[in-house]
């Protein structure tokens, strides 16, 4: 008989209490050193008043949460293998993919139709603008970062730089920056799209060529630095970028225009209203998804996979690692550049404060959460995480502050990594690896180290 406190369920219970206690303490309304336990048991005033004890009920919330956590954990341990087996049965057998393709396509068409109706389904101005600014834009960013991190296996912590370059290029060619526009005419943002994409791709090549000889952690640090440099430039090059006031800060500057079409009899002008922007972005999201999927299964995609798995072996079969890594950087940057165009045009003004390290990390979280290397995964990841974030900000639960957001997202990510280490919708390859490892044919560790490194 093991000592009572060593029993697994007691340990689980204690861990649950501890985890929830920490969460409560950190999210409670006080957060003050003077009364550190307020988050857990309520403030003194709350406690002394009968009202506080029964209405404030912070401690009851705590107990309920802890027990719920404990319950879910235990249920997972008991029923988990069966649940996972059922899940696998529904998704496994990678070789059937070809035969299921029509079903798959049907599914995507349904998704697209749903996406088409989405702004009318939510029918709420807040959520409609979230769809554009927070979901569609982040889907684009996640798709691009997925090429770099998921396909080529390069950890990029400065992805925001490409987003910023896209946005600032748009501001520049539309004549919204202190720097004179390159053309006498201030361009329609539609023309900014190719210019911005070319600019970010060139930026990707310029950054990639010297730095992609580095591996792993070193590359991560250099990209982190690149992201910061771009932000600092945006902030401090007052005469060029408008400094911390952004594109609208200088006298004589004008807003970045909205998209507009004047094609023969067709005249259309986008406005501040989010829904038209949503459709415009949706079209590009679909185009990027199609483009990146084709790339994934192309010769280039295979070279990326080979480099990710074993660079020396890749070289031995004739793949030039540097060339393909730089390509990943440039191609991944393209969708971020486009996201920059949308952001700039839709909001009319851009500010350096938008392009933070936090944003780079946020996009990386979307990719990891959704499933590195899996296009459906990163799209789902972006939709889920951004929806949760925006829901929390829009309808904050008691005691929630906006600065707590990333704590919740972090917790969500950790839990996901425990139960679905390859992400929400793992790529076909990763799913296959997991099926094999669970069948005991290989090491689970092998599966992890291969891609995460």
């Amino acid at each position: 008989m093991i000592t009572w406190w060593r029993q697994p369920w007691i340990r689980r219970l204690m861990t649950s209490l501890a985890v929830v206690a920490v969460v409560e303490l950190m999210t409670g309304p006080s957060g003050s050193f003077a009364a550190p336990t307020t988050g857990l048991i309520g403030s003194y005033n709350e406690r002394v008043s009968v009202y506080g004890l029964f209405v404030g009920r912070r401690w009851m919330v705590f107990l309920v949460l802890a027990l719920a956590f404990f319950g879910v954990w235990s249920a997972w341990l008991r029923g988990g293998p069966r649940m996972r087996a059922a899940l696998r049965a529904s998704t496994a057998s990678p070789r059937d993919v070809a035969s299921r393709r029509p079903v798959r396509w049907g599914f995507y068409v349904v998704l697209l139709v749903v996406a088409g109706f989405l702004p009318h389904l939510v029918n709420d101005p807040y959520w409609q603008s979230v769809l554009v600014e927070q979901i569609a834009v982040f889907v684009l960013l996640a798709l691009g970062l997925n090429v770099v991190v998921g396909f080529a296996g390069l950890l990029d912590l400065g992805f925001v730089a490409f987003y910023a370059i896209g946005a600032y290029t748009t501001a520049w060619v539309t004549g919204a920056l202190p720097t004179p526009a390159p053309f006498d005419v201030h361009l329609n943002p539609f023309w900014a799209i190719p210019v911005a994409i070319v600019f970010v791709m060139v930026a990707g090549i310029l950054l990639g060529t010297p730095t992609l000889r580095l591996r792993g952690d070193y590359l991560a640090i250099v990209t982190l630095g690149f992201g910061e440099i771009i932000t600092i430039f945006a902030n401090n090059l007052y005469g060029i970028t408008g400094g911390s006031y952004g594109s609208g800060g200088t006298t004589g500057s004008h807003p970045i225009p909205h998209f507009s079409i004047a094609l023969g009899p067709i005249h259309y002008r986008w406005t501040l209203a989010p829904v038209p922007y949503y459709y415009l972005t949706l079209v590009f999201v679909v185009l990027f998804i199609i483009g990146f999927s084709l790339l994934e299964h192309s010769r280039i995609g295979r070279a990326w996979t080979a480099i990710r798995e074993d660079e020396v072996a890749a070289e031995s079969v004739g793949i030039n690692p540097l060339k393909y890594k730089v390509m990943a950087f440039a191609i991944g940057a393209a969708s971020a550049g486009f996201a920059g165009v949308v952001t700039a045009s839709q909001s009319n003004f851009i500010f350096p404060a938008t392009f933070t390290l936090q944003l780079s990390i946020n996009v990386l979280v979307l990719v990891i959460f959704g499933g590195m290397g899996s296009i459906p995964g990163v799209v789902a990841g972006a939709v889920v995480i951004q929806t949760v974030s925006m829901y929390l900000i829009h309808t904050p639960p008691a005691g929630f502050q906006e600065s707590d957001l990333y704590m919740y997202i972090g917790a969500l990510l950790i839990v996901t990594m425990i139960f679905r280490p390859a992400g929400l919708i793992p790529s076909r390859r990763r799913r296959r690896e997991i099926v094999l490892s669970e069948a005991g044919e290989s090491h689970a560790d092998e599966v992890l180290t291969g891609d995460v490194a």
Partner: protein
Amino acid sequence: MLDVTNVVVRYGAITALHGISFDVHEGEIVALLGANGAGKSTTLRMLSGLHAPAEGRIIFEGRDVTVTKAHQFMALGIGHVPEGRRIFPQMSVEENLEMGAFARRGSYSDDIERMYVMFPILKDRRKQMGGNLSGGEQQMLAIARALMGRPRLLLLDEPSMGLAPMIVEMIFRIIAEIRDQGTTVFVVEQNAAQALRLADRGYVMENGRIVFSDTAANLLVDPRVRAVYLGEEVEEV
């Protein structure tokens, strides 16, 4: 076919190869033997472009390949089976083979079929992940992957490493077959007795220098080689 002249390789201040020279003629199997740390693997790393020589020249089919990069060798006609096999663990056997044809243009399905004839076990395993194969199967896959590039010269780094004796014998039979089909083979081996029985000629390295070279048959009976590298192994096997 391959001429290596006075090649010096340095790792920082340490000189790993002190000016070695050797050649490989078309249609033969040449073995490079030596103890651990003699410089065999460095020689092969240099030949496959992973480490550039500080001095000397490497000529392949009349072309100077001294400063060629690793990824360019396959296109030149030199296939490389790296030490430790290094197959792509998370690709299937078939995908590994397809990667082998990366440097080539055009269709490679005939080549895959040819590999399946040469290595029937790979056909049985073709949907399996490379990482789930046994050591011997991985070695065969690594060789087959290198052959997918249709090299005229195949470089093998320690093909017997970590494999059971029976599997080693099988691998060596396959290497002989590859030579018979017209691919020249240069093999670095620690297992001297077996390598010499397979090879046409051999070079013996010690401390970054080539100390003897002769036909394999002569090396096999050479008392110096027997004493140092074969020991009692000859009597035993």
